[in-house]
């Protein structure tokens, strides 16, 4: 028991690490068992058997597949993501640049989701059974059904084409911070609205559960008003499932960013992935897949750990 908490964390990290290794093998084998060599793809129509053979050796593609895998993984671990077959650029550098767009986009979307979701969810719970509660419930139901593609395009029509408030595509780069932020606002909204609707539903359910609980009835009976009782006692407990959802939402925001970046022509990880897929630049696809998988699995683990930490009843249990 004394080493319980720390041991749990170590064990959980070990599990993630083994999952990541398994995932990397899956990605690598999947993209490397195909017929046709990358060398032919790179050389395109001008390839001759001799030039293909030379490039194959240069890229290390003549080595056994397990050796290629180990080279790739060794590179990833050391922060060396390799060189793009198509552009000849360092992939690590490109991913770094792309993350500077995707990261802020996801954070901004999360913020917008919280600003929309928290008040909506609380209102929905407190006004349940009255018209305001029903309106909020209906709104969040519809909000969940709106894909980010649709939200993005509708926002573009409304705020960018009709009102000229925000740019509809492109990204000036962070040397122009104000312009960059403006370019991120619409995409972040497209992502955040849906996340907000999902959050609102979970918050509503969590708060409603607390409102029915015995301890809140006790708090009410000692003279607190419902909102006071909720603020002093209920919200902390209601926050537990909400934090979990919030964590899982980050993962879905990262995926959603892939779509939204392509709507708004933002040079982030999603656009890089799509370009690589279209050019069959397999090593870039491989690298970005690992970046996304790592992010999703790590966040998932952090959510698990935070659950243990937030809910005292679970502490010390496994």
């Amino acid at each position: 028991m004394s080493k319980g908490r720390g041991w749990f964390v170590v064990r959980r990290l070990g599990v993630v690490l083994s999952s990541l290794v398994a995932a990397s093998m899956l990605v690598f084998v999947f993209l490397n068992v195909l017929p046709g060599s990358p060398a032919e793809v790179i050389l395109g129509t001008q390839s001759t058997p001799a030039s293909v053979a030379a490039l194959t050796i240069q890229l290390g593609l003549n080595k056994p597949i397990w050796r290629q895998y180990l080279d790739w993984m060794g590179g990833l671990v050391n922060g060396n993501f390799g060189v793009s077959y198509i552009s000849g650029q360092s992939i690590g550098h490109e991913i770094h640049q792309a993350l500077l767009v995707t990261g802020p986009l996801v954070l901004l979307a999360m913020l917008i989701g919280l600003v929309i979701g928290v008040p909506l969810g609380l209102t929905g719970a407190l006004y349940k059974g009255r018209w305001l509660g029903s309106v909020v419930g209906g709104l969040s139901q519809i909000g969940i059904a709106i894909p980010s593609v649709v939200a993005g395009i509708l926002l573009t029509v409304g705020l960018s084409i009709k009102l000229h408030l925000f740019p509809s595509s492109g990204f000036p780069g962070w040397q122009d911070p104000w312009g960059s932020l403006r370019a991120l606002v619409l995409p972040a909204f497209a992502l955040g609205v849906v996340e907000g609707a999902i959050l609102a539903r979970y918050i509503r359910a969590a708060v409603m559960e607390q409102l029915r609980s015995d301890y809140l009835r006790t708090a009410r009976s000692k003279g607190l008003r419902r909102s006071q009782a909720l603020r002093r006692h209920g919200l902390r407990v209601a926050a537990i499932p909400v934090v979990t959802v919030l964590g899982l939402e980050i993962a879905s925001l990262i995926v959603g960013a892939i779509v939204v970046e392509n709507i708004f022509a933002l040079p982030g990880v999603g656009m890089m992935l799509l370009n690589a897929v279209n050019n069959r630049d397999l090593i870039v696809v491989q690298d970005i897949a690992m970046v996304v998988v790592t992010a999703v699995l790590l966040i998932n683990t952090l959510v698990d750990l935070s659950y243990q930490w937030l809910d005292p009843r679970l502490r010390g249990r496994r």
Binding site: A145, S148, V149, V150, V277
Partner: protein, 288 residues
């Protein structure tokens, strides 16, 4: 005796129907899903125009009596294309959810029943797969095999397997720990019979609700993938590809974007309402 049993069945059916009708989510969800399924069926035999029929004299025409929802940049009838897209959506959603259920359900029940290393392996594998969201899986498929409607089905199906394993497992664990299952085990019933007589009926409504929910998410994922060009390829129509081509005419013909958007939202709404309705009806019956 059989006569009485028949009457009881009949009464149960009627009250189930009444509860169904009284539940707004279930009713509305069924209606929307029904309309979309019906449209998909109709589009197999009839659409106002051919969904691929190009008419260069009537490009980007507005709503009119001959083209109810107007035409696109090639003069193709928007309503016909919307209807034909229903078919693709039902195909992708239905097949991917069935695929995920067919694999995830047995694995989930197995891992709930057995505690051995095979179950551990199943759960670990599900954890790994969890790291591959549908969009990423579809990108990998597209990079390896080229994009098509079927790679979307596979990608979404695979991405949902871990969800089904987990949901099935936790629902089955509840049933397997119930006393009547213990009694059946003590009585000497075989595992297969217990799964068939107790577990499957017990978790049925949870699975159906989950399938409907995942169908709605599959529609979202499919529209995104088609929009990105990672799925159904033009000229074949799907709501996602329609959105993608309509995006070029946002400033002049914004309505072109509206129709597929509405169709997607309606379809997602229908399946998520249906899922919610099934869950609510289950709660009303006291968890069975």
């Amino acid at each position: 005796m059989t006569l009485l049993a028949g009457k009881v069945d009949e009464a149960q059916r009627r009250s189930a129907f009444r509860r169904w009708r009284a539940n707004p989510s279930a009713l509305l969800g069924t209606v929307i899903v029904g309309v979309i399924a019906l449209t998909a069926l109709v589009s197999l035999v009839w659409t106002p125009y051919g969904p691929l029929a190009i008419d260069t004299n009537h490009t980007l025409s507005a709503m009119s009596a001959s083209h109810w929802l107007g035409t696109d940049e090639y003069g193709r009838d928007t309503l016909s294309r919307l209807m034909a897209s229903c078919k693709i959506t039902m195909y992708v959603g239905g097949l991917s959810v069935l695929f995920a259920t067919a694999i995830g359900l047995p694995l989930g029940i197995w891992s709930a029943w057995n505690k051995g290393w095979v179950s551990q392996l199943i759960l670990r594998a599900a954890d790994v797969l969890y790291g591959f969201p549908a969009l990423l899986a579809a990108s990998l498929f597209a990079a390896a095999f080229g994009a098509s409607t079927n790679t979307v089905v596979l990608a979404i199906g695979i991405a949902y397997i871990p969800v089904f394993v987990r949901v099935t497992r936790s629902a089955a664990l509840v049933i397997l720990n119930a006393e009547y299952v213990l009694a059946a085990l003590a009585y000497g019933r075989r595992p297969f019979a217990i799964v068939r007589k107790h577990v499957l009926p017990g978790i049925g409504s949870i699975i159906v609700a989950q399938m409907s929910l995942l169908f709605s998410i599959a529609v979202l994922a499919e529209s995104g993938l088609d929009y990105l060009g990672l799925g159904t390829a033009p000229p074949n129509s799907s709501w996602g590809t329609m959105l993608q081509s309509a995006q070029n005419y946002l400033s002049s013909d914004a309505l072109l974007c509206l129709w597929p958007s509405l169709a997607i939202v309606l379809c997602v709404l229908g399946f998520s309402l249906l899922s919610e309705g099934v869950s609510e009806l289950r709660d009303e019956r006291g968890g069975r």
